[in-house]
Symmetry: C2
Subunit: 185 residues, 2 copies
Amino acid sequence: MRPNEDLVSAAARELSEETGLDSPASHLEQFGTYGSPDRDPRMRVVTVGYWAIVPDLPTPKAGTDAAAARLVPVAEALSSPDRLAFDHHEILTDALARARRALETTTVATRFCPTEFTIADLRGVYMAVWGRSLDPGNFQNKVTDITGFVVPTGERREGSRGRPPELYRAGHAKTIEPPLRRPPA
Amino acid sequence: MRPNEDLVSAAARELSEETGLDSPASHLEQFGTYGSPDRDPRMRVVTVGYWAIVPDLPTPKAGTDAAAARLVPVAEALSSPDRLAFDHHEILTDALARARRALETTTVATRFCPTEFTIADLRGVYMAVWGRSLDPGNFQNKVTDITGFVVPTGERREGSRGRPPELYRAGHAKTIEPPLRRPPA
DNA sequence: TCAAAAGTGTTCAAATTACACCCATGG
DNA sequence: CCATGGGTGTAATTTGAACACTTTTGA
């Protein structure tokens, strides 16, 4: 952190410095703070963790602070407890759990989508973050029943394989009550 | 924080120093970190917030760091946005939300109870934290149906008004799946 | 014309709520 | 013996998963 910076700004700056992703990270959400005295053997560091939504990801470039940067699927990054440095396995696990829960209780998933999107786009976000497949019909019913989650534009997206899907925009609702629970199995 | 202290230890120490409550806070859980540059006009401070479970509360005493200490019901503390100093209204609001959610998804509520407790004791914790009344019969059914939440001792607590209630101990389960949702209205 | 994706609706099972009702004790 | 809180059970309703089925396009 810099002397006159708040936590989110610092997080956004660091993201940019290390990866070159200064595309507008439209959502940065704190999930935890890590401060064991020996978590980084080089020096005493307290880390405040944020997870971000960056729609339409560009290829990351190593920024001023990093030797290299690339995108790694989260399942791969967590595949072994030793794959990441220091306590980063624990941190990433916490971040993922928080993001997964956020999709249940808030409408942030729309931030991963373009301004106009289809229900299938949104379903893709849920499936990616939750790491499971979801029934298209039930997902459609649930999402369109939640007031203020998505609002139809009246337009359709042409050009793809099957029946052209209707386009939606994000609604004004920020939370989902009751939560959109992820189905078992 | 002291040079060789992790975050939870520092939180436990601060709790003790400011209130004299060094009874074993059997649960300390982080909920957020606050770091706006001007949140405390006296100096730059980053605060990591923890909420604690302290069963059978003693009267707090102002410790080495505080002029005075007393217990205040959370509804009263949050009754006005200006009742607490700095950003403490926001912090306490976050803490309460987190504690409320914790009761839905984990078994921490048993930590508020003595080693042996009745379902009514447990229901009292839920009603206090959630700030609403709960149907005794339904609560009983739900809780006893969740495997590993409470285990009967076979004993009863005598001496009270009506039928002597059965006593339970906390089970081994740490999380509740699916969550024990708080009923609407 | 066929396969694929979108979207709607139906069925059956599971969960939830409200509440009736019996139990066991102290006053 | 009756009011009180504990505990069990049930009926009615709601929710949810699975999946059949229609729609509308590109190949």
